[in-house]
Symmetry: C2
Subunit: 142 residues, 2 copies
Amino acid sequence: MKKNRSHCPVNFALEIFGDKWTLLIIRDLILFNKKTYGELKNSPEGIATNILANRLSLLEKEGIVVKSKDPNNSKVNIYDLTPKGIDLIPVLLEMSIWGAHHDPNTAAPPAMVKKIETERAAVIAQIKAAIKDPSKNIFKNK
Amino acid sequence: MKKNRSHCPVNFALEIFGDKWTLLIIRDLILFNKKTYGELKNSPEGIATNILANRLSLLEKEGIVVKSKDPNNSKVNIYDLTPKGIDLIPVLLEMSIWGAHHDPNTAAPPAMVKKIETERAAVIAQIKAAIKDPSKNIFKNK
DNA sequence: CTTTTTACTTGCAAAACACAAGTAAATGTG
DNA sequence: CACATTTACTTGTGTTTTGCAAGTAAAAAG
């Protein structure tokens, strides 16, 4: 797709992650602290491997993730969020709130949704902390 | 596309508006108080007429907009947001903030971005008021 | 040295999209 | 009242993207 249909900020965002898969990858990176191709491939939605590879390279090109080699296992690549990627936390949280409210079969635990709504800033801080230290994650297996 | 890849709330949202056009239509309905096919068609991004018709029917099917005839001009159709559509305001605002921060050529006025960030609840209330009374709109021509 | 793991790439059919043109009903104009 | 215009789409066609299955390559494990 040719870019710059407009310089509306909503359009800018959609030109980068306006599809059915990119934000799911970002969700896994931000909320579930996934870091490798293999971990991302195993999400319940079942992304195709060519789509995953394509989206990761686009995200890298856009400066939302950076790719590096795992120092302990040089056949594993690590995808880390940049500040530009970390700034997507509020977008993901608002989409979560909307989805939880309007999907009658949502898997989102009501207590977690309420916590996001009432303690927004604290939850964002907690997610940022977990990006640096995954043991602090509050979403895993939710 | 077959639905229900998962019941993650983020995925639920993406299955409805995970593409390059749907949220742009919702932006126009929410932020610019557009109401007709013709108004939506004239957005700067230049949506194709078949895509617009398709997305409007999907949004109607999902209960995000309702279609009715303009009582003053029966050849014009009016698309109104439902509460489910109005609940997307925070998603749009967060995407706007992100886009404004990370697009070096953004068209978003810095004062407006700052206002959204610092007076979030008031801005949301103002947008809701403008949905009922477009003369209260603070985004038009921005 | 062979097998397994990890991260992709390739090929191909199906679906979605973009663009141009056409249709139909309601309204405005002479 | 005939004719042009406006509004809201629909249709056709070629291109692009997606989805699925299979294959490849390099590093690590056995």
